[in-house]
Symmetry: C2
Subunit: 200 residues, 2 copies
DNA sequence: TTACATTTGCTAACGGTGTTAGAAAATATA
DNA sequence: TATATTTTCTAACACCGTTAGCAAATGTAA
């Protein structure tokens, strides 16, 4: 009686193909022009079928947002694990974050952009909490060992995250006029200031 | 023969009413739900009339983006003029920028958000260059007087702008859990670090 | 194998979007 | 008053997300 199993397997398959097709379309034409009908076309089903797998278009986007944060977290953990020293960890995390944003521009734009996702969206993404944890730990470590032990680690984390994100999103505004070196320098500049600020 | 004049006057009037109606709709329902037809309804004209005044919907948005930067620049200049000391100027500019973003959330979201406007958009907004000039001057002044005179003012400007924007946009993601104090502290924290970084 | 029940996927539609073509109405010119 | 011009409208096109309801395929049981 593997019928139910087979059906479930097929259902999972279709769901996966929806996501795959959606992703392909996004890569080719960007988020703005992604449509349910185009996805349906690509998977060779009619449009309403998609609603058997996702509540609506936003749910598809949300799925990608989640995946984006999962991937980002993975990369950050990997970067962090390469060092024991929290100072080096923070630096590695910053570079990994930067790299992720530009290597997965589509993801990053969905995760943070696209009309500045509202509070509701944020609540539905527990992955953002993991992200906080990953970065918070080394910040705490550094503060503990510093002349600045009283400082609020959340405050430092917030500064870290904001600057990084700001750097990236301001950069994505403009074109890439061989500004790569400038950006590398800005990132370095920020990190030096940030770390020396924590040391006190 | 004031006919042509009257016609021109009327045309200007209609154009203004389009922008006014659009703005009212945005304030009430947000950018996402702004539509040409709703604007037409509000100004009591049919939809195609709008295309006699704007090439397309994007052109209307662009107009608001321009106005946003104009207003922002005005506020920044006003803040800057209150001080002669470049250090105080930078601080005042940062606070004014912050205030603008939250007092004119709709503007700020259009200016920077809404799908991360592409390179094409940026080119069409000369006001962004003025913004650069306003902030660059005090940074230069400070650097000149510092132990750090060799540093690149553009690099510092970029850091300044990015951090400020990052702080704001990360903040707009989440809800306002009485985080006002935290944010004020983060801003202060950043400014201290930034200024001491310039002084060298 | 036949009869029924269930699941699956479709077509067609609703109400919306930006935008354009072309007719009609209002206005200006001779 | 007749003609030319401008202004404004209706109607349509080609999309969009989403849903209702029917048809076909599939599974279950006699």
């Amino acid at each position: 009686m593997g019928i139910a199993e087979r059906k479930l397997r097929q259902k999972v398959e279709v769901k996966a193909s929806i996501l795959q097709a959606a992703w392909q379309l996004v890569e080719k034409e960007g988020w703005q022009s992604l449509s349910i009908r185009k996805i349906a076309d690509a998977i060779e089903y009619s449009a309403p079928v998609i609603y058997d797998h996702f509540a609506n278009k936003e749910a598809i986007m949300l799925e990608f947002t989640k995946r984006g944060f999962q991937q980002l977290n993975e990369q950050l953990i990997k970067a962090k694990e390469q060092f024991a020293n929290p100072e080096q960890q923070i630096e590695a995390i910053a570079y990994a974050y930067w790299k992720f944003a530009f290597n997965h521009k589509e993801y990053y734009q969905l995760m943070y952009g696209l009309g500045m996702p509202g509070c509701e969206t944020v609540k539905q993404i527990p992955e953002m909490a993991s992200f906080t944890e990953i970065v918070l730990a080394p910040v705490r470590d550094m503060l503990a060992k510093s002349r600045n032990a009283g400082a609020d680690p959340f405050l430092k984390l917030h500064t870290f995250w904001s600057t990084l994100h700001g750097l990236i999103s301001i950069n994505m505004l403009g074109k890439n006029d061989s500004r790569d070196e400038l950006n590398a320098m800005v990132l370095k500049d920020f990190l030096i200031g940030f770390i020396s600020g924590i040391k006190g």
